[in-house]
């Protein structure tokens, strides 16, 4: 798991799709988030996800603030969304 020099140490927010699909029935990567730090809006798929860590950390691509954290333990998951004002989740009519 050594990091290649120069390679980005993060992935895009689509890396959240699998872990979040275990918790939610809709695809949250298309949900719109608004960063509590800088106010920028965009889909969760646009976050920078740091996965070489004890959990998944999704950061705002604009200001770097932590928008989402997800930890999967053997018996529970923890999800922190305090870095987003709200999520707009597209639903079928």
């Amino acid at each position: 798991m050594t990091t290649d020099a120069g390679a980005p140490s993060y992935q895009d927010g689509n890396a959240l799709a699998g872990p979040l699909s275990e918790l939610f029935t809709v695809d949250l990567t298309t949900a719109l988030t608004r960063c509590t730090g800088c106010g920028a809006a965009g889909p969760l798929a646009g976050l920078r996800v740091y996965a070489h860590a004890p959990g998944l950390v999704g950061r705002c691509p604009g200001c770097g603030q932590v928008v989402l954290r997800l930890v999967r333990g053997p018996r529970a998951a923890w999800l922190d969304l305090r870095g987003t004002v709200a999520l707009r989740i597209p639903l079928g009519s």
Binding site: M1, Y50, P54, G55, V71, G73, W78, L79
Partner: protein, 199 residues
């Protein structure tokens, strides 16, 4: 993704080192990070200790290097299940840094450049158990491993050993840090396999 070197001629795998439950040995040094790597110039670096009364103690990079340093070799245990044996470091014991600090607090909240935090009892930073480490394997500590300087508390899981350490706040109550507030254990003893809350 661990690199295996078939021709490796180092010490035998189990030479006196013990593996905590649920861990495996790795020989490379995985880089874990919850964000971009901060690049902190030594001339801008500072380390502070803030007490419950608001008193603030501050050390510059020059101050840190002027303090007596220790060389020590320790095993590292990461909660993501790898352990690395026999890592050699140089740094200043927290006994030296906290020796001049007046405080009645029992807990410490460690903060780092880049915004990371982690918490532990103050007692675990004392009595030869913790260092501000600035050299690794005889060279300056690389930024990806926490340079210019990182906390090292090797008897706890490695997430407690904050990379790019910037300061310690002494508090009367335990305040959860970055991983402790999303499910990770408040204390994190690898020998008792305290990975998650409730372990």
């Amino acid at each position: 993704m661990t690199v295996i070197s078939p021709g490796f001629r180092g010490r035998p795998r189990t030479s006196g080192h013990r593996l905590p439950p649920g861990q495996y040995e790795t020989r490379d040094f995985p880089v874990l990070s919850a964000g971009p790597t901060p690049r902190v110039a030594r001339e801008d670096w500072e380390f502070t200790v803030t007490t419950e009364t608001g008193d603030r103690y501050r050390w510059t990079w020059g101050d840190l290097l002027s303090l007596p340093a220790e060389r020590f070799t320790v095993d590292l245990h990461c909660v993501t299940r790898w352990s690395k044996f026999g890592t050699s470091w140089e740094g200043v014991s927290l006994d030296v840094l906290l020796g001049t600090v007046q405080s009645a607090s029992d807990y410490a909240l460690v903060s780092a450049y880049g915004g990371y935090t982690t918490n532990l009892p103050l007692a675990d930073l004392l009595n030869g158990q913790a260092w501000i480490a600035h050299r690794y394997e005889g060279a300056d500590l690389p930024a990806e491993h926490g340079g210019p300087a990182r906390l090292l508390v090797p008897h706890l899981y490695l997430w407690k050993s904050a990379k790019w350490v910037r300061g310690i706040e002494l508090t009367a109550r335990s305040e959860p840090g970055f991983w402790e507030s999303v499910g990770y254990h408040d204390y994190g003893d690898p020998w008792r396999e305290q990975r998650y809350q409730g372990d």
